[in-house]
Amino acid sequence: MSINLEVPAVPLREQRLGTLTGYDGDAKDLLGRSKEGCVKNRERTFTQCGSCSADQVMNLLLQLQDAAVVEHGPAGCSGDIPFRNANFRTGNRRLGLKVHNVKYINTNLSEKDTIYGGGEKLERGIREAYRRFSPKAVFVTTTCTSAIIGDDVEGICEALEEELGIPIVATICEGFRTNIWATGFDSANHSILRKIVKPPRKKQPDLINVISFTHRYHYENIFEQLGLRANHIVPFSTIEQLEHISEAAATVQYCETLGSYLAAGLEEYYGVHEIKSPAPFGIKATDEYLREIGRVFNKEKEVEEVIAKEKEKIAPRLEELRKDLTGKTAFIGAGGPIAYSIMALLNDLGIEVLGAHVWHHDQRFDNDDQRLDVLKFNVEHYGNFKLGVCNKQSYEVVNALNKYKPDIFISRHMATVWSAKLGIPSFLSVIEPSEMLYDGLIRYGELIWSTLKNPAFIKNISKHSKLPYTDWWFEQDTFSFLGGDADE
């Protein structure tokens, strides 16, 4: 599919990628029918808090070093900001960068503004962001309120861009556009492609863009061994760095949900090749990932050496971990591709995956290439498993956990307190995802080992707490609130 950088709003995932938020079945079925793109979404009549695009936009744009974000909305839309600041500071410290607060302003729309418009406040917000932070760019994000009252965000941005002489980028991400909150990544990446990235001055043949969060220090060494320079991007990058991502030879990513749109856009507009392989989780995908990098950069021999060396390094501990973990069972609750990647890790550690609930499922990617499909890769290499798509509905996850009774629950984005109340040990696999590449498998294994070996804390908690659900609910089918096809 083609990416249109002329319009400020990114097309929705529902339309671009056939994304689903409701499905109940298994991996093979979903995969088989996704190939034809014919799986219809199913919606539920009872829902719990999800997340919104505006939230994921901040995950990327707010964590740029020298850009400011002006969020045009009521003060509550800033609820995610204090903790994002915490993660931004921690991330900078880990990466050895200067630790500082995020550059953020909220326009604090009031009841009066919803009647008379909030344009004046937005202008003030942008000017103040410019004065206070001296940013290299300002991203102006929309919210439900600013969109419904119809403020001319794009127009105001254009006028001020001319006056201030830096990119002032309208980023369209109001929460009500879609229930598929990963769209926020696309909105942010669309803004970067549309207004920040410049045509290459000169191609840099040893430069590889790596899209991920804070795990540069986990993979940098591998790229160094291959004689490649890793360009760690979005988040934690600078505007100048992003201006020149068009000069890289290739792009790889940690998770197709995060960077699908950016990688595809870079390939379409600037010929930056997206590495067509699954993300490097587990031994088989990591083999494939490194070999594909080897093929693209003509470093096949070097890659084989790295693979052999890295595998040898982890072999003794991997064997011990497998001995301890073989036969254990797990349930995964996480975003689409990441859940499938975690499944590979668990299989490599000898753990049986009883099932997974993913938050959404993309039936295809922006670069529509089967080699990027982690689910396909893992089903081929590890086999089928029970799979539901649940848009982060914790009542469905808790219901499933109670039925499957796994030894461990691995969560991403969902509170782990619910499984603790069921007496199921778990951890949140999100803030410090260190599970990439070969040694990532060991780090992940150690985490699982320590979670399972002494579950005293969780067992004690479960004896003294109650879940907020009725007995009736635990007796129902997990997906009993899923309706028929959404478009029927």
Partner: protein
């Protein structure tokens, strides 16, 4: 509300769904966009000392997750289905529907939807908490108003000694649960039974239903909750005592006990006996700190800034000035204080102690606060009672930062309190532990 906001703290009125979560076995139901609940939970609970989900918070909160077609065609039917589902799935004693920016602008008839359930005998009310109406303190008052107006019934009888307590706002003030329980304990010294309404063992909706039976209402806050106690006076004729200062430490806690004791008509001798005992205990422990606090080998603060809501700022300022011999620098009040209360609050800070007053600045905008402090004359080792936003500011002015208000991300809060005699000791421990950990951990 005409300010823009850098370094946001107090979210919006919908943040008050955190108030509902702190009522035992109560379930909030959000008629809101898909991201509201998650953002507000992180901003208030996670960034408020990692308070956790509570009984039915975090991602367990039912929400209509309004999207474009609902904005176009209306979301009332969706809300109806959501409530039906919540009644089946969620194990709750009481349900509160909260409206949002989106549902209020598109004009869904929430009163009608909720009214149909009330007619069926479902214990449910609704509050109009669109985010653009104000901050989460405002939302807290709107929730209380909704429960009082829609659910409470007058009582013919009064329960002797029963006092409804309105003070630290649940889950919004990171130390709320410790605070409310400490107030409960203080009142028990006077033979009074505090109805604290929120938190562990507070009684859930039954405690709310007992509100009209109280002898009086006690409001401990400069202005948050004033509308609530006035409404209760008007509706049930319950008188109220407004004690504007959160009592922290020896001096103020004793004053507080005297004020409440006198209002309740307690025997003067019993009252003084209680106070003497508690004060003795407080000073026994405080005495331990004297040698450290009067040594000059390490840099200890004597002057302080506050960057926090009015309730904590005033309580802490009173304590530091009157118990600890500190001097106030600028006092920055961070919540959206209604105009009509600003003069009164400034008055409290003008009379912290004989001859000691403080400059007060009302601002929700961290940028304004930072600039004002950076443009103020520098002092040695200022103490900053603030939040995790002020880490860099503290570095720049050589200050000692102790986080006491949102966002608090550098500490885990279980049941800690700064209220009462015990709370005063806790605050002293926190301030000097921070000073020592910075200067003695080499």
């Amino acid at each position: 509300m005409n300010e823009i906001i850098q370094e946001p703290r107090h979210t919006c009125a919908l943040g008050a769904h955190q108030t509902v979560i702190s009522i035992e076995k109560a379930i909030p139901i959000l008629h809101a966009g898909p991201g509201c609940g998650s953002k507000l939970y992180r901003g208030m609970s996670q960034a408020g000392g990692y308070q956790g989900a509570g009984y039915a918070g975090s991602d367990a909160v039912p929400s209509s997750n309004l999207i474009e077609k609902d904005v176009v065609f209306g979301g009332a039917d969706k809300l109806h289905n959501l409530i039906e589902g919540a009644l089946l799935v969620m194990d709750g004693d009481f349900f509160v529907v909260l409206t949002s920016c989106t549902s209020e602008i598109i004009g869904d008839d929430v009163a009608n939807v909720v009214g149909n359930f009330r007619n069926r005998g479902v214990p449910i009310v609704y509050a109009e908490t669109a985010g653009f109406k104000g901050d989460s303190y405002k939302g807290h008052e709107l929730i209380l108003e909704a429960i009082i107006e829609q659910h409470l019934k007058p009582s013919d009888t009064k329960e002797k000694g029963l006092v409804n307590v309105f003070a630290s706002v649940p889950r919004h003030d990171p130390f709320w649960e410790g605070d409310l329980n400490e107030l409960k304990k203080l009142l028990s010294y006077l033979g009074l039974k505090a109805n604290i309404l929120f938190g562990y063992n507070s009684g859930g909706i039954k405690a709310f239903e007992a509100i009209p039976k109280a002898e009086f209402n006690l409001l401990v806050s400069p202005h948050i909750g004033l509308n609530t106690v006035k409404l209760l006076e008007e509706k049930f004729g319950t008188p109220y005592l407004h004690y504007p200062i959160l009592p922290i430490g020896g001096v103020e806690t004793s004053k507080f006990l005297r004020a409440v004791g006198e209002y309740a008509g307690l025997d003067q001798c019993i009252l003084e006996d209680v106070i003497k005992k508690k004060e003795d205990e407080f000073y026994h422990y405080l005495l331990r700190s004297v040698d450290l606090l009067t040594e000059f080998q390490i840099n200890l603060p004597k002057k302080f800034y506050s960057i926090v809501d009015s309730n904590y700022a005033l309580g802490i300022a009173k304590f530091l000035v009157n118990d600890m011999g500190f001097f106030p620098l600028g006092q920055y009040i961070t919540e959206d204080v209604p105009e009509e209360h600003k003069e009164t609050i400034t008055g409290y800070f003008n009379a912290l102690a004989p001859g000691i007053s403080a400059k007060v600045v009302f601002s929700q905008d961290g940028g304004v606060i930072n600039e004002d402090i950076l443009n103020s004359p520098r002092v040695d080792n200022p103490l900053i009672l603030g939040s995790s936003w002020e880490v860099d500011l503290a570095g720049e002015i050589g200050g000692l930062l102790v986080s006491v208000g949102l966002p608090v991300i550098d500490r885990l809060i279980l049941n800690k309190t700064f209220v009462g005699y015990r709370g005063g000791l806790n605050l002293v421990e926190d301030i000097y532990t921070k000073a020592l950990s910075r200067q003695r951990e080499y």
